[in-house]
């Protein structure tokens, strides 16, 4: 069975001081640090493309895993902010920039904050269907391309970061049961309008605080898993406030649902793999619930189980 073998992230060296940004916009600095939970927001330097951050993540993954570039058989990339206008697809550009062989399969898919959970199942299904044994799932969605720095609703939230997940037939974590949700009628709550991100905070909060705990509870009940038997809740890091709200509604202790966006902000589809990267080798973390929610509106929850 195809599962997760390794995860590595790449975050741009340049970043915005979010506390200073908050004060300049008339907020208390503590609103950025304590409520949103982001003190710095990494952003791509001018001229650096989505494919560059993706290729950097792939190169870091190959270095850490010891896998040779020529052994990669498939590359899948999650983004809604691709190079140029998305044609050609960014994963093809990454194939060349990361020195991957021309024999690989590569494609992009378009999802926001639910993208990593989807991507695990997309790539697992693709590999099991095709018989491929070594695949890489990349998340790279630099919102700095579409943020209006004068927009108080969005500019304090988002940071740029890419991740690369190695998926093989000899994994550390199996990718288990999953459940999905979509509500296109609410889609305008997070939208790219004319090249600028717009977000209706209250709608997004209501959506997440209502649907995500319900979906998590439904999945655990369906799979007959006691919520206390989940070692880690890797919740999409929309903000400190939303992570804490969801954990509270689930009655999950805060230490099991970490808030880890202080140095990155909300990194869209990269936020869950950033948490997994940090915790997947921790002894005692054997069952992980990952839940992503946002753009769409779309929400998805899956369970990962350690294999050894």
């Amino acid at each position: 069975m195809i599962g997760i073998s390794e995860i590595v992230s790449w975050t741009p060296p340049d970043s915005i001081d979010n506390l200073a940004q908050a004060e300049a916009l008339g907020f208390e600095a503590s609103f950025a640090s304590e409520r949103i939970g982001a003190e710095r927001l990494p952003q791509l330097a001018k001229g650096v493309e989505t494919s560059d951050m993706a290729a950097s993540a792939v190169e870091a993954l190959l270095l850490k895993s010891g896998m040779a570039a020529e052994d990669v058989q498939v590359l899948v990339l999650c983004t809604q902010n691709p190079d140029g206008n998305g044609l050609p697809h960014t994963s093809a550009i990454v194939q060349t920039k990361a020195g991957l062989p021309q024999t690989i399969a590569s494609f992009d898919y378009s999802l926001g904050c639910s993208g990593y959970v989807y991507g695990l199942h997309i790539l697992k299904g693709f590999m099991e269907s095709t018989g491929l044994e070594r695949g890489v799932l990349v998340t790279a969605d630099p919102y700095s391309k579409i943020i209006d720095r004068s927009d108080r609703d969005t500019t304090l939230l988002f940071g740029d970061s890419a991740t690369a997940t190695l998926m093989t037939a000899d994994p550390k974590f199996d990718i288990g049961p999953v459940t999905f949700g979509t509500n296109g009628a609410g889609g305008e709550a997070i939208i790219n309008r004319g090249g600028k991100l717009e977000m209706a905070g209250r709608q997004v909060f209501n959506f997440a605080a209502t649907n995500v705990p319900k979906q998590i509870t439904t999945l655990l009940e369906r799979e007959k898993i006691d919520i206390g038997d989940v070692d880690l809740f890797a919740l999409h890091q929309g903000s400190r406030y939303i992570v804490e709200t969801i954990a509270k509604r689930l009655r999950v202790p805060a230490e099991k649902a970490p808030v880890e966006l202080a140095m990155t902000g909300n990194t869209i589809s990269s936020s869950i793999p950033l948490i997994l990267e940090k915790h997947m080798d921790t002894p005692g973390i054997n069952r992980i619930l990952a839940s992503g929610f946002g753009v769409g509106l779309s929400w998805a929850t899956t369970i990962l189980s350690r294999t050894t």
Binding site: F31, R35, R202, F205, N206, T210, Y241, T245, K248
Partner: protein, 76 residues
């Protein structure tokens, strides 16, 4: 739909806001008792779920005290 003061206080407590209850009376704006915009969203979501009715965005600004929320929800 109806909402009692006791139920509203429970919603506020359950939301885990920054509100300091010793500074909150029925006509004190929530922000004067320590709440911010996120807390208000959280309180109003709790109210919506309790009474199973959506509160439109244009009403939110006016619903900044216990009494105003009760009056809005219980207006019949």
């Amino acid at each position: 739909m109806s909402l009692s003061k006791h139920e509203l206080v429970e919603i506020i407590e359950e939301a885990g806001t920054q509100i300091s209850f010793d500074q909150l009376d029925d006509d004190t704006p929530f922000d004067k008792a320590g709440a911010d915009s996120l807390d208000l969203m959280n309180i109003l979501l709790g109210v919506q779920q309790k009474v199973d009715t959506e509160i439109p965005d244009e009403e939110v600004e006016n619903l900044d005290t216990v009494n105003k929320i009760l009056a809005y929800v219980n207006k019949g």
